[in-house]
Every structure is written in structure tokens, then in C-alpha cells.
Symmetry: C2
């Protein structure tokens, strides 16, 4: 039973109103290392950020531009300042850690334009030790009742742009978030999605993102002048960014700041800026692990549809039973089945209206399978692929969710496969409109799906989503999502995910929230079984990793649900390695990033959370590297001193390399304590996965 | 006296109405090498293009999306086809050639959507031997009276994208068109301005652009899928692309096609698609050459304003007289003076409202100088720098143009210095709106300026313009423009224009129309007079060329007005080299690109047009190269056979190189005829300029 525990030291210290003369407002982090200064001297509100007394964000403008009314830009003067601080702890029903600390100083700055009939807006900013967040709050006021925001003027002017590196994916592209990450000088990162991560010449790491994206357009960043990014909101089909009315609040614009790379990972900034759980009792949200009828379609052994002459229908009653048996035998909680419903035989990519979300194919007896699974303690995981035709989905959503509820399905993987900008909806005049996955329309549409699912005690795993902005705090049934290149790109992507992909994700995508990456592929030879002998390992589609790195990924890439993605027979052929996947939990008492550099390598340690299944005593470690083999020394001082553990180490063998010897793995066990230091030897695109089994 | 001469063989061969069953419509170039096929089979109009029986443009969609009404996309069927052809010649009052051939096959395809109340639109396409143009024509119809276009669906799907190179600049950036050109695989050219040039794996050269951009947004290209570009119209501040009403026509979308690089240069496609001259007698438009008070400000020897303690005001009566004397002595027609008017002492970049276009500074006696020049046959060239504050300019434009007309000023250089997207206008409610230089608003604003100038018999040279789309045919007083990185970037740019810049421009920017590049810098040492000795030639701001390349640029970069950009004393120090600039004309009977490769080198031959000053017998040649020195064999068979010429050759010396020996030039003269072949030896970033003086 999970309950929320709040330990409040003091929520409000002071409330100060400052006279009109004040031109600068400063607010610092609790530890004093981050200082934010707001000012109205530039005739437009602006801010800057210092870290350890050096500028990281130079003077950057704030403001909003509307279609009808005059902009909130020039002529706004600070008229009121309210300061407060917060120190509290709160508990997550599931997550990377159970207890989260929220320690920040806050300021609310109100600014008025006397020449615009006293038009007014506020900036609320919170400064934590791990970064800052600020948002616009616009109260109801004459002349700004209904507003259409065409542009947001928020800037992020990188102080060290000339010498900094950027780690980024391009924004507003056809492939949404599914791009290989780039590492370039800042100046080459023109138009980017968030999270976007920067590393300055003195190793300061920054990551810009947003929190609590609700009823607003997603923010991308566009480099308008060298080093100066400006918010670039994803528009509706008609070019407007946000259609709203006062009073309204923007999402929090966030800047994580750390003096090293792992400082970005040991942060709860995004969660802390989100609203608390509003669903009440969420004991029906269950972390766990699953298998499924999915990978076989991506490697062309089966088909989603029933009429492919070259590939049998994957989603059959018989095949599903096989997976349920496998899941039950090896302790998996769910079986995902894709291709169960009518519509896959049509031209679904271009015309998703063909999908039914209530009618199964004749060879998939959904009721029988739900019962079969229930008897064995395994649940069916639902699948709603919309192919971006959201009106078709909307029209069936209630019935489809009711159907699953009746069948005891408690998780659904949704999909919105469509090019960026090509989500199809029918408006109230019956006219087709095309929207972006991260425009305001879809931001609301995804959340509607979450809310409807919550009414039926169903959790959602969104594929082709809008980026995560921490709403899992407010809606704990929004358990995970895709929103980056996942394992499937290793089946057919051009190119497959490169060796640096996961070390890149760890410091970018993973700062936004959990990812359903679906690790755990054991057979790399599905395109060419002889790839090792004929030296073709780098040229075919396959995961560009060693097998040990696949194991380590379960610890490195956090998600409350994790898939063992491969076919059952590939696990049964390597039961020793598979043991790690069987053991690893997906819910944590605590997580610590121990070491790493963006795009190079990362080491995580996590302590399991106590549940019926897990004692709550064991720790797990995952270390992965990019194309460079490396040795990493890891101190085990995160373990509780005085306790003894058996380290069950799954590592790359001495001759392992990802290209033609990915299967060389080695398993060893040895007693360890918190006094020990391990030297991890990672092969090229390799990894180490460790279970620290508590002995006392 | 220039008059338009039309030689029409036949303008209309046939008018055929084709029945509704027709699904494909084919139209070819007169020589049969280019074949365009339109189709409605995809349930949306589409087209493709073959060249010499190979696909160059694969199936590409057509259509328009509106804010209110249903889109012109799916459901349109071809109902009517009209075919015709044209063979004519017409004369330009000035230009690269006097007589232009217009030889094309045309088709007008009408398409109707029965389920949208028979909504209808047409595509008019013309296919020439040097490429194609097509445009949308939307007649007046119920339900589509007032329309706001939010998106154009026109695609350009490059058939050989995977193996093609792109030569491009990024679109929608802060620096408008002023970027160094990129040469990359197509897949890296995400969002580009036009003209954009491609080179396929079998040397087919394509360049995509538009013609006759009037009352519409400019088109940029965005790569939506690998190799598939879609039109990306530059929006109004509120996100709408085009605000118009039926009936309307879009600009022509153009694709130049050639089997080699120089085929792109020997083309009049853009001009041929524009409307004929509507200004009537334009004998007051005078090609010529000018000098001016301009470069000295860019190299910090003088200032535009009057209060800079480090630099004297450039635009003084005394300094201008010096330039008028120089111009008169050496045969230049005009003197440009920047900084003559009040406003340069304020914060003009951020607040251009400070500019007056009628009040001169006290130390600039404009009336006296106009008279002084008139007596010597030299005209003042006006200057209107708006700094992007177009309402301020509009409010003064009539008075400012009248003033110049009274003073006998017949050319004005205008300027719109402001970041992309930051043109400032005040709407009719008094609200500030920010627009793009190439959005529909500015497209109309620039043309208004042209039309108002024409009423006063004034010609316009637009800096920070919208791109050229051939409107000089319709408005021959729109003589030239900037719209790319010009010479000024060599004074202070980061970086200066690289050695390949002019060979890049020749095959991209220059396909759109003339450029006021302002060549002719003789002194490369204005940042460091000792750069040659201390080996810093590549590290300072200066033209990254030899001196001979500066001379050759007058022939390579076409413009009806050309500046001798340097300070008078630098020309007087090298009178032998300066002779070429004194001789070279700026108006041509004929132009032929003889050789070249995109970004590498180019060779042009041009024959002078007969005027009062020029006999009409001489030819000129300009050859320039990028960072690679090269030898180019040039056959002189473009010269009239049987005539004798003295070739006056200005070339790189044997030891010349751009980095530390740019001044090594050599002048020789020798008799030649059309039988001769010259071997041109170009240094690294070097050039050769030749005047072929007719002897008989």
C-alpha cells in the first residue's frame, strides 16, 4: 500500500512586497551556488543565471506575443516581488526513488505595462540546488480574455556558447524524437528538442527542458543568434502556438545545472515542479516486467496483419498462450500482444481509420486468453495503435477502455505512428486538420487518454508520444513512454542505434522521465546468422552492443515497466544470462548515478524497493559504454556499511567486442561489502550488470 | 533608346479539352529531354519529372491547406487539360543578354473535388529546355472567397537523393540569406532557402527556386522525409502564410535542370516566367558603375554617425566632393553616400524610428553636392537605411523620394538591417508586429517601394531584401539587390567569405538575379598591413582572394550596377589593375558561361552592349577559382570568327596565392582570334579577367 508522506519543515518563510523602484530581483539556491537575477532594465523583463559565481546564462529576454493584442514585451516594469522557500519531502508511488526532497527558494515577480492599460503578468521562479524552473502566470484582465499566443520570447543565452558542446536532436522533423543524437559545437545545434544538454569549457553541465506541459504547446529551442536560443513553440495547423484564455500558466521552463555530468542524473527537478498526485489511490498501478508478441514482427518473422504471405499472423491465440506460459514460468507480469485487432490488413499507415479498438481478429480469442493468463498470474497488455488518426481513436476510446477493464487488462501500450505534423483529426466542421505530436492539441489529447484510462484503473505506456515533462507525478498511471529511438531501430533502422546511443540517452532523453526502450535482445543475428564469421557485424541491422550491455541497460535506462524484448527461445538458450533479467526489479527505493560522461559511459546503482516480491535489501548496478572499451573503478560505498552482499556480476568476456563477438559474456559471483572497489572492464559498446544480493 | 521587340513564331498551337477519364497528363520540353507527368491517381494531384529518360523528381504531391476551409489535398480529380506552346523572343532594357528566347510547352490542368462542392483549382506548368515552372491558379468560388493559406503541400522528391550533393544555406535563420554556403549530402540539408542547387550521381544539376513572387509568402524547402522536400512558406507574425482571396495565383515553383553545371548558368527560366515590363519607357534606368563612402565605415576608418570619437563622420560635403572628383576623373557614374541623414547617432539597430529620410546632417550639404556632381556628370546615389522599421520608412517615403527626385538622384540603395523575423511594423491598431523579410507582408512592402520609386524615375538597389524571383522583368527599375554575403563580410565577418564563396554564389544565389556584391577591394591589409610578412593572411578579416580575382568578379557576378568598392587611394596606387575596372561594362549583349563546377570554379564570357559609351564590339571574360589553384583551357570560339581582338589579360602572377601573396598580379596583352585557345592559370582563390578589345 503506497501512501504519500509529506515531511514539512517550513513551507513559507516570508512574504515580501517590494516597492516599484526595484529593478533587479535576485534569488539563489539553498546552497547558494546558483543565483538567478531578474531585471526590467532592458525595457523588457529579462533574467540571467550564475553558477559558482560564473555566468552560465547571460541576459535573456522574457515575454509573450499574441495574435490580436499587444505583446507582453517592451514596457513592462516590475511592480511586486514575493519571496518564499520550501523544504519538504514527498513519496512517489513508484519511481527511481521512493522519497523525493523538494528544497527550493521561490520568487514571484509581477510586471506591469502602464502604457498598455496596466497589462500585467508574473514570472514564478524556483531555484533548487540542481537547477531552476520558471513559468509565466497571466491573470485574468481586460483586453486579454481570449488569447492566441503566436510566439514566446523566452531566451536562453548560453554564456560559454563559443566553447561549449551541445548534445541534441533536431526539432520539427518528420521523425519526431526518433533521431540519433548529435554531439557538436553549440553553433551547429540550430533547432533542437528538449531535453537538450550542454557542456561548457569548465565542465559545467546544463540541460534545458520543461515541466508540467499541460494545455500548451511544447517548447523547442531555436538558436536565433550564436549561443542565444529562443523558445520555439510547436504550432497548431493554423500557425497559432497556444489557444487559451486568462488566467493561465505556462509550463515551467527548466535549466538543470551541475558541475559534472552525473550531477544531471542525480536530480528530481522536473518531478518537483509538477503538481502532486491527483488520482488518489493508485495501488492499481503496478511496476513489473513483460514479454510480448512484438519483436518477431520487427524482424519479419511474423506480421501484425493476417494476409502477409511471407509472415504468419503474430497475434494468435496459440502464440499468445506460448508467451503466457513463458511469462508464468519465468516470473514476468504481462504479455503485450500487437496485431490483435482488426485494421492491420489495410493501408493503416496512410489511413488509420481502418483500426478497430474493440474487434479482435478471429484467430485471437481475447476473452479466452485473458482468463488463461489470469489463472497463471499473467496479464494481457493491451495495444492501441492509432497510426495518428486520433478522431478514430477518440470515437472508440470509451468502449475500448471498457472492454479492457472487463478483461482485466491493466496496462495499455498506445501508438501514434505518423510523421511529425501529420496527426490527423477531424474538427467539429468535419474538416481534416493535421497536427504535430507535440502541439497543444495533442498535449491535451494524450492527457485525455490518461484520464480516461485512470477511470478504469488502467495505466498507459505511450509510444510516439509528446515528450515527458514529469506529469507522472500528477497522473501516476502515465507509467512510461517512448519518445526517442528505442530497440526497434536495431531491427530495421537506418542506421541502427549506434554504440553511443544509450550513453547519449542517459544524459538527454532520460532526464525527462522513464523510457520503454525494451532492452534485452540476446540474438544479434536475426538479419545474418553468420555475421560473426563473415565480419559483417557492423553492417547489418542488429543491436550495436554486446549482450552484457543489454543486461546492464535494465539498470541504466529507468522504466517502471521493462520488457524482455527478445523471443522466448533466445532466452532459453542462455538461461544463465537471462537470470539477470528475471531478477532485476523495476521499482526502486533509491537511485544513484555514480559516474559517467555524456555520450561516453554511465554507471548507475539502484536499491530495490520492498514489495511482496522483493525484500528491499538488494542493490543493482548497471554500467555501459559507447564504442570505446574502458575500465571503470567503482567504489561500493553506496552499499550499507556493515552488510554483506554477494555480487552476481554479468560482464563482457575478455574477448568481447560489439562488432563480431557480442556474445562473449562472463558471469561470476563474489562476496563484497561497502569497503570494496570494483574495476569494471567494459568491451567496446559493452556493459556490466550486477545484482548485489544481500546476505545478512 | 531601348524598345521591346517581340518576334513571335506562334504563341498558341492548340487548345485541347480532355475528358474526365484522363489520369495522367504529360508535357515535355521542346527538345524532348524533360518530361513532366501530372497525375491524380494518388487521390491528390502529384507530378514527377524525367530528364533524358531518367527520373529526377519522383512522385511529388501538390496541394494547399487553409485555415478555415477544407484543404486542396485528397479527393481532387483532373477534369480539364489545356495544352499550348510558345516560341518568342523578347528584349530586356538591360541585362545579361539583350534578346531572350522563350520557348516552352504549357499545360493547364484543372482538378475538382466533387465531395467538396466541386472545389476547383488549376496547375499551370511550362516546360522549357532548361527546366520547368508550375504554379497554382485558384479561381473565384463559393466557400473560398477570403482564404488564409497555412501550408502549401508542394513536394520536390529528389529521385537520386541518396547519392546527390546539395549546395545550400539554412532557411528561417536570424541572419536571413547571409550564410556561408554548405556543400553536403542531401540528407544534411534539412531546411533551406532557394535557389538551392543539387548535383546527382550522374552529374545532372538541378536548382529549385521560384519566379514572380508577388503578394505571397516566399517558399523555403524543408526536408520532410529523406530526399523529399516540401514547400515551407515563410509565415506572418501570427503563423498564417498567405492572406489572400480567390482568384489568386501562386508564384511559379521552378526547377532548373541541366546535364552539367554551366547548363544552370546559361538559362533564362526565371525571367521567362515573369510578366513583361509594365513600367513602359524605362530609358531612365541606367546601368553603370559607382564608388562611394561605404567601405571606409566597414573597415572602421570612418563612421556612419557624427559622434564616434574613434572615427570621423564619413558623409561630409568635403569627402563626398573628393569621391565625385574621383568618379568624374575615372569615368564612374555615381557616388553612394551612407550616413548622410539624421539618425545614425542613436541606437538605430534596435530603434530605427530615429531615422529621418529627408533631413541631412549639418555637415552634408546635399543640394550643393547634387549640383557639384551634376556639373561633372556624376550623380549622387541615395541611401535609405530603414533598420527594419518599415512603418517609419513608409511614413516618410513619399517625401524622401520626392526630395531625391528634385535633386536628380536616380538610384537609391535601400537597407533593412534587422534579424530575420524582426522587421518591425505598426499595424492599424497601433500594435507592433514583427515580420520576416521574406513573408508576404514584406514581399508587398518591397514592391511598394519599387512602384513609388518608379513614379519618380528612380531605380532601387535593395539590401537585406527578399530573394530575387525575376521581377526585374516586370519592374526594370528594380536593378539589383544583396540577399547573400557580400564584400562587407570580408571587412568584419566571422568568418570572412571563404575562397569558395564566389564559385558557390555563381551556381546558387546568382541563378535568381543580379547581385550588388561590390567587388574590387585592392588593399587586403586594412586589419593588418603586415599580414603578408607575418603569415597572418588567413587569420584576419580581408577578402580571401587574390587581387586578380577581385577584377574577374566584375564579369563573373552579374549586376547592372557595379561598385568599385575600395578607397580611391588604393586604386590610384595600382592604376594598371584599376584600368580593368574602368573599362568593364555592366550591361551586356550576350553572356555565356563557358565552364565551371559548383563551388569550384567558373568561367564567363560576356559581350558588351552597344551604348553611347561602349562600341558593342568588345568581349570580356572572368574566371575564378576556390581554394584550389587550377589551369583552365578556354576556347575563344565564342568570339566572332574573322575578327581580331587584343586580349588584355589581368591574371594572377606565378607566385600568387590568396593567403600571403594576393597582390601578385600580371598584365599582358596579345592578339587573339576565335581560333585561339587560352590556358588560364589561376592561383589559389585566384582569377583571370580579360578584355577582348576589338581591333577590326
Amino acid at each position: 500500500m503506497r501512501t504519500n508522506i509529506m515531511i514539512t519543515i517550513s513551507t513559507l518563510l516570508s512574504l515580501i512586497a517590494t516597492p516599484v523602484l526595484s529593478k533587479e530581483v535576485k534569488v539563489t539556491s539553498p546552497n547558494g551556488e546558483i543565483k538567478v537575477t531578474f531585471s526590467d532594465e532592458q525595457d523588457q523583463l529579462s533574467y540571467n543565471v550564475e553558477f559558482n559565481n560564473q555566468s552560465v546564462i547571460d541576459d535573456s529576454a522574457l515575454g509573450l506575443v499574441f495574435k490580436e493584442q499587444a505583446a507582453f514585451a517592451d514596457g513592462f516594469k516590475i511592480t511586486k516581488v514575493e519571496k518564499s522557500f520550501n523544504y519538504s519531502k514527498w513519496e512517489q508511488p513508484w519511481g527511481e526513488r521512493r522519497v523525493v526532497e523538494d528544497n527550493h527558494n521561490e520568487v514571484i515577480i509581477s510586471a506591469v505595462n502602464a502604457e498598455l492599460n496596466n497589462a500585467i503578468y508574473s514570472i514564478r521562479a524556483r531555484v533548487f540546488d540542481d537547477g531552476i524552473g520558471f513559468r509565466y502566470e497571466v491573470p485574468k484582465q481586460d483586453n486579454y480574455k481570449q488569447v492566441e499566443i503566436v510566439k514566446e520570447l523566452t531566451e536562453f543565452t548560453l554564456a560559454d556558447a563559443q566553447n561549449s558542446k551541445a548534445f541534441w536532436i533536431p526539432a520539427r522533423g518528420w521523425n519526431r524524437y526518433e533521431y540519433v543524437y548529435n554531439e557538436t559545437p553549440v553553433y551547429e545545434a540550430q533547432h533542437v528538442h528538449t531535453p537538450v544538454t550542454f557542456k561548457t569549457s569548465n565542465n559545467v553541465h546544463l540541460s534545458i527542458h520543461e515541466a508540467a506541459l499541460v494545455d500548451y504547446a511544447a517548447m523547442t529551442l531555436n538558436q536565433r543568434r550564436p549561443g542565444k536560443y529562443i523558445a520555439d513553440l510547436t504550432p497548431w495547423y493554423d500557425g497559432i502556438a497556444v489557444k487559451t484564455q486568462t488566467s493561465f500558466k505556462s509550463p515551467w521552463r527548466t535549466i538543470q545545472i551541475a558541475d559534472d555530468a552525473t550531477g544531471l542524473l542525480n536530480s528530481d527537478l522536473i518531478l518537483n515542479l509538477n503538481e502532486p498526485n491527483k488520482l488518489g489511490d493508485v495501488s492499481w498501478v503496478n511496476p513489473g516486467k513483460y514479454v510480448g508478441i512484438w519483436w518477431e514482427m520487427h524482424i519479419n518473422k511474423a506480421a501484425w496483419g493476417t494476409t502477409d504471405p511471407n509472415a504468419p499472423h503474430g497475434a494468435t491465440t496459440e502464440n499468445t498462450k506460448k508467451y503466457i506460459d513463458f511469462a508464468a514460468k519465468y516470473g514476468f507480469d504481462g504479455v503485450l500482444v500487437e496485431g490483435w485487432n482488426e485494421g492491420w490488413d489495410g493501408d493503416w499507415f496512410f489511413n488509420g481509420d481502418v483500426f478497430s479498438f474493440t474487434k479482435n481478429y478471429p484467430d485471437f480469442d481475447i476473452k479466452q486468453l485473458a482468463d488463461y493468463g489470469a489463472k497463471k498470474g499473467v496479464k494481457l497488455i493491451g495495444h492501441h495503435e492509432t497510426s495518428g488518426n486520433v478522431t478514430n481513436y477518440r470515437n472508440q476510446m470509451q468502449d475500448a477502455l471498457d472492454l479492457y477493464q472487463d478483461l482485466g487488462v491493466e496496462q495499455i501500450k498506445t501508438g501514434y505512428v505518423a510523421d511529425g505534423g501529420n496527426i490527423k483529426r477531424i474538427d467539429d466542421k468535419g474538416i481534416v486538420r493535421k497536427e504535430w505530436h507535440d502541439g497543444q492539441f495533442m498535449v491535451n489529447e494524450y492527457l485525455f487518454n490518461i484520464e480516461e484510462a485512470a477511470k478504469r484503473k488502467i495505466s498507459i505506456n505511450t509510444h510516439e508520444p509528446v515528450k515527458d515533462t514529469g506529469l507522472r507525478r500528477t497522473y501516476p498511471n502515465w507509467i512510461t513512454r517512448e519518445g526517442a529511438r528505442g530497440q526497434e531501430f536495431n531491427a530495421w533502422g537506418t542506421p541502427p542505434n549506434p554504440p553511443e546511443h544509450i550513453p547519449m540517452l542517459a544524459f538527454t532523453r532520460m532526464l525527462s522521465g522513464p523510457m520503454d526502450f525494451t532492452p534485452g535482445i540476446f540474438d544479434m543475428g536475426f538479419r545474418d546468422q553468420n555475421f560473426q564469421q563473415n565480419g559483417q557485424g557492423a553492417k547489418i541491422n542488429r543491436p550495436q552492443t554486446t549482450l552484457a550491455k543489454q543486461l546492464a541497460s535494465y539498470v541504466v535506462l529507468y522504466s517502471p515497466i521493462q520488457m524482455a524484448a527478445d523471443l522466448p527461445e533466445n532466452y532459453e538458450a542462455k538461461m544463465d544470462a537471462f537470470q539477470f533479467i528475471r531478477d532485476v526489479p523495476t521499482d526502486w527505493e533509491q537511485s544513484i548515478a555514480l559516474d559517467g560522461e555524456v555520450g561516453d559511459f554511465v554507471v548507475f546503482a539502484r536499491k530495490e524497493r520492498k514489495t511482496e516480491r522483493y525484500s528491499g535489501h538488494d542493490w543493482y548496478l548497471g554500467a555501459i559504454t559507447n564504442e570505446d572499451a574502458r575500465e571503470i573503478e567503482v567504489s561500493l560505498d553506496f552499499l550499507e556499511s556493515g552488510k554483506r552482499f554477494e555480487a552476481q556480476i554479468y560482464r563482457d568476456g575478455d574477448k568481447a567486442n560489439w562488432i563480431n563477438n557480442p556474445y562473449d559474456y562472463f558471469i561470476e559471483k563474489k562476496p563484497v561489502t561497502s569497503e570494496d572497489v570494483l574495476t569494471l572492464k567494459l568491451a567496446t559498446s559493452g556493459g556490466t550488470a550486477i545484482r548485489f544480493k544481500a546476505l545478512n
